[in-house]
């Protein structure tokens, strides 16, 4: 046994280049998997811990105004454990040196209450109940605005300009990501002040206009929501909703979903591809040793002893790869988690490796590495020793397809050797080509999410959202108010949009969707089909996205029942007039007048779209900031900027990780393919040198084979990449966030460069090694 372990040591040292690159392939696969899925899990855990620790409510409702006495009736609803009543008003923040006011909210809070205890105090102190000019400010906003405890703050609430003083900076699970639609959290301000102070500004003394609820774990959320809506119907209830529709939570979930779709499946593919390559490369190396193994068998070593020997070789690589991979992955996961956590301002950070993720990667590594080595070893050991030893005698060659096509004749003896060698072992050649192709495909796959996001932003922003600014109103107003907006400073045109949250029912099925309506002749909104072509709204009835139609099991001409979720729970039958193959999700669209008819009310609007004179932009924003009914103003251009600023950083990190690991895998595969070829061919190559061929000529034979494989692999790799992206998206839940399968030419070029680059680097190394082999020993060597 001592002799075998000496052989093991020598083999590992002799093949150190290969051992290291294979270890790196394994480590890269594991690191990419561990770090990206790990980051997602860590963030999800951090969010959950945050929500639990700071009592994020289960149900929310906004209403016109209700006297405090109503609260006790709400408390009696079955399933409600606790509730907080409060005032929530639109607020705009005037910051020193900024022309534009920043949008936001003012929220009432009782000093010493549980609600106050559920704020995360980050700096300063809580409110003094005796003072009415003190506020707590959302930390994420304070940072961007450069505000600290002790600073003065100028806020407009319900038309009143208030001079307030910041006494503390806080975070709240309800305001992690206060705005939807790509706005940065730092752009939206939230202040908490005493009930009395806020009531004075709004005139809502002894009343509340917003409630948050905590439910028992077993409560039926739907029933509770309906009960709340019944209680609040006469107080102008706007429809209670759960966490799934809470703005901040939904934005956080969207971000995490997005991360999940990129960060769990893609790394899983990474891991699997790395393991496949590991398997191929290891089994080739073991195959090279078949003669030695056969001799050992002939000498009397048992199959078990040889199996253990090969196992030990594979284990060194596996253990090394797993350790390096977990280490790297953990480090990267920590960095990414921190990046996101700072972005979300999570006060609780649940970093650290997830046992499942570690378990999965170790298991897959063991199966792939040990499996690859052992199947190859078993094939050899199973044979009678003599049979295995006989093998390297001239391998059988035939004239293959390429030769018959006359290619070999054209190519000369060198070309002939290249072609025949590739042909003789189609399986091996195929595996090498597939390996290199996968390496390229991984890079394509890694960059695909970036491409897809880019495309999505372009299409949505350039064609679907064509307004300069969208003004969201605190509550729907009659369409006639549009005239008022048309006369606002700098406004060139204004169009109404009405969004009603509904639950669409069809037989036993239902889905909660936004029902969005605008006039059929509107110019600023469009529904785009799968090929980004605009689809006009039907004059009557509702247009559903094809996916929604499918989920509800309805087609054109069928009837769906829309249950209003904005408070009344009225049920309105609607005819499905059209289905549109829109790219994303579940949506329903209607003409504005048709919607008003169906709801049996005056045409209303919840959002106003504006076309704005550029020169007057700042004046308009300043003006809108003082209008009580305006909740927020959003510019699609700003969305793109915010998206670039916010996603740019993540995309950079993401691309970097994918490219680094993808390239390591590409280099590893190409290098090992070449090295194995070099070992297999060293005697032939030495013979050519004896015959008087120069080093250059000999190198052509080897590097030519490599080149042919790389050239074959490139287009296949691009195809693999695209197919992997497509199948990933196929497996994604279409009701959730979903990318279009778009890959840009730049990505293909980039992936090709990565593969070619690694091939060329490898070729240089192999060439140097080829130059160093001395003829006499190569002729003697029989492995």
């Amino acid at each position: 046994m001592r002799a075998l372990s000496t052989k093991l040591r020598r083999d590992l040292w002799r093949m150190r280049g290969q051992v290291i690159t294979i270890t790196l392939i394994l480590a890269s696969g594991i690191a990419a998997y561990v770090c990206l899925s790990g980051a997602h899990r860590a963030l999800a855990r951090s969010r959950d811990a945050y929500y639990a620790q700071y009592a994020f409510p289960d149900v929310f409702v906004h209403l016109e105004r209700a006297p405090d006495a109503v609260a006790s009736r709400l408390r009696e609803i079955d399933g409600v454990t606790s509730l907080e009543t409060r005032l929530v008003e639109g607020a705009s923040f005037r910051l020193a040196g900024e022309e534009r006011a920043q949008p936001g909210r003012a929220i009432s809070i009782e000093p010493g209450s549980r609600a106050e205890a559920n704020l995360v105090l980050r700096a300063g102190r809580l409110l003094d109940p005796a003072r009415d000019d003190e506020v707590l400010l959302l930390e994420s906003f304070a940072r961007g605005a450069n505000l600290a405890p002790g600073d003065e703050l100028d806020v407009v609430i319900a038309g009143h300009e208030l001079d307030l003083r910041v006494v503390g900076l806080v975070l709240s699970p309800e305001w992690v990501f206060p705005m939807e639609g790509g706005m940065m959290p730092g752009d939206f301000g939230v202040v908490w002040m005493t009930r009395d102070a806020l009531a004075s500004a709004t005139g809502k003394h002894g009343a509340f206009d917003s409630v948050t609820f905590r439910l028992t774990p077993s409560a039926d959320r739907r029933e509770v929501i309906e009960a709340i809506d019944r209680e609040l119907a006469r107080w102008g209830g706007g429809g209670a909703f759960g966490r799934d529709k809470q703005v901040s939570n939904r934005a956080v979930s969207n971000e995490l979903d997005q991360l999940e779709s990129m960060a769990t499946k893609i790394p899983a593919v990474f891991l699997l591809v790395a393991m496949f390559l590991l398997n191929v490369v290891l089994s080739r190396i073991v195959h090279l040793q078949r003669e030695q193994l056969a001799v050992l068998r002939a000498l009397g070593y048992t199959r078990g002893a040889l199996a253990r020997h090969v196992l030990a070789f594979a284990s060194v690589i596996t253990v090394g790869g797993v350790v390096v991979g977990l280490g790297l992955g953990r480090w990267f996961a920590g960095a990414i988690t921190k990046l996101y956590a700072t972005f979300f301002h999570f006060p609780v950070l649940e970093a650290g490796l997830d046992a499942t993720i570690v378990g999965v990667s170790v298991l897959v590594a063991i199966v792939a590495a040990i499996g690859g080595a052992m199947t190859a070893a078993w094939r050899v050991v199973r044979l009678a020793p003599a049979e295995a030893m006989r093998a390297p005698a001239p391998a059988r060659y035939r004239r293959g397809l390429l030769s018959r096509l006359g290619l070999a004749r054209v190519a000369g003896p060198m070309g002939r050797m290249i072609v025949r060698d590739l042909e003789r072992r189609p399986v091996l050649t195929g595996l090498s080509v597939a390996g290199i192709a996968f390496a390229g495909g991984i890079v394509v796959l890694g960059r695909f999410s970036v491409d897809a996001m880019d495309h999505l932003m372009d299409v949505v922003l350039a064609r679907a959202l064509r307004e300069d600014a969208a003004v969201t109103l605190a509550r729907p107003v009659p369409r006639a108010e549009l005239a008022w907006f048309r006369h606002a400073p700098g406004v060139l045109a204004a169009e109404p949009v009405h969004m009603v949250p509904v639950r669409l029912h069809a037989r036993a099925r239902s889905r909660d969707v936004p029902l969005t309506a605008w006039p059929r002749d509107a110019e600023m909104r469009q529904v785009l089909d799968g090929r980004s072509r605009p689809r006009p709204l039907p004059p009557e009835g509702v247009m559903l996205t094809a996916l929604l139609g499918e989920r509800l099991g309805v087609g054109v001409g069928d009837t769906v029942v829309a249950e209003r979720l904005d408070g009344s729970h009225a049920r309105i039958p609607l005819t499905v007039a059209a289905l549109v193959d829109e790219r994303m999700g579940l949506n329903a669209y209607m003409d504005l007048d048709a919607l008003a008819d169906a709801l049996d009310e005056e045409p209303r609007m919840s959002t106003v779209l504006l076309r704005v004179d550029r020169a007057e932009r700042d004046r308009l924003h300043g003006y809108l900031a003082t209008v009580p009914g305006v909740m927020m103003v959003m510019e699609p251009r700003g969305i793109r900027e915010a998206f670039d600023a916010q996603s740019g950083q993540f995309m950079l990190v993401w691309t970097l990780i994918v490219v680094v690991f993808g390239s390591v895998i590409a280099v590893g595969v190409v290098f090992n393919t070449a090295r194995v070829m070099l070992s297999e061919r060293s005697r032939d190559l030495a013979t050519l040198r004896v015959l008087g061929f120069t080093r250059d000529e000999v190198a052509i034979v080897l590097l030519g084979q490599l080149a042919v494989q790389v050239v074959l692999a490139l287009p296949i790799g691009m195809l693999f990449g695209w197919l992997m992206a497509a199948s990933l998206m196929q497996s994604a839940d279409p009701e959730q966030f979903r990318f279009p399968v778009i890959t840009s030419p730049a990505t293909f070029a980039f992936a090709s460069l990565v593969v070619l680059g690694s091939a060329i680097a490898t070729a240089v190394v192999v060439r140097r090694r080829l130059d160093r082999t001395d003829i006499v020993s190569a002729l003697k060597a029989r492995d």
Binding site: P394, R396, M417, V690, T694, R695
Partner: protein, 234 residues
């Protein structure tokens, strides 16, 4: 007869320090034009080392090798490659054919390298394989493969033919066919041939027999007349 190749004080040391092996210790060696020389000697006596140096596969630690007016001791890798390409043919114990090329193509491999080469068919005919042109090595017997190797070595009409145990892996009958091929080439082309063997019987076919021992030449004698390989028996 004039010497084609002349080595003086040829020394080859493998490794250094206490583990150094003196494979050749100051050997003087000549090969005359057109002669057939057999190298005998126990295993490890330095036969292969000598032949590899003479053939330009390796470089000496000390000493000189002159081939006509070239000094091989001072040659660099490019010079040695050109020397092998233009003047030397090798035959080894384990044929070393390129498995992916047919018999004809293995020979054609060297035909492409030099100007005044034989046609592969002629070279193969000379070793008695005119009818196995399009067979791959795996479709040939050991003796046949060795004769393809000889045809490949002589197709470029080398001045030197160096054979390291060409019959080592073959039985008597097959070995005789190979030796006949070598003798034919030696006579018809006048190629100076050096042949390493462990089989003293083979020495009878040589013009001259050199016996090596411990990295030096132990003895040397000239045969009064050469015996045809077909009459050798072992």
């Amino acid at each position: 007869m004039p010497a084609v190749l002349e080595a003086r004080g040829l020394t080859k040391v493998y490794g250094s320090g206490p583990t150094a092996v003196h494979a050749l210790a100051g050997v003087d060696f000549t090969l005359d034009a057109g002669e057939l020389l057999v190298l005998l000697g126990p295993s490890g006596s330095g036969k292969s080392t000598l032949l590899n140096l003479v053939g330009g596969l390796d470089t000496a630690t000390a000493g000189t090798i002159r081939y006509r007016d070239h000094d091989l001791a001072r040659a660099d890798d490019d010079d040695l490659t050109r020397y092998r390409r233009e003047h030397v043919g090798f035959v080894f114990q384990f044929y070393n054919l390129i498995p992916s090329l047919t018999a004809r193509e293995n020979v054609a491999l060297v035909v492409d390298l030099v100007d005044d080469a034989m046609r592969p068919e002629d070279a193969l005919a000379m070793v008695g394989l005119g009818d196995r042109l399009d067979h791959f090595p795996s479709q040939l017997s050991g003796g046949e493969q060795q004769r393809v190797a000889i045809a490949r070595a002589i197709a470029k009409r080398p001045d030197l033919l160096l054979c390291d145990e060409p019959t080592g892996a073959l039985d008597g009958k097959t070995g005789r066919l190979v030796l006949e091929a070598l003798a034919t080439v030696n006579v018809e082309l006048g190629t100076a041939t050096a042949l390493i063997t462990h089989n003293a019987v083979i020495a009878a076919m040589a013009d001259r027999v050199v016996t090596m021992k411990d990295g030096g030449i132990a003895s040397e004698h000239r045969n009064p007349h050469r015996v045809s390989p077909s009459t050798l028996d072992w």
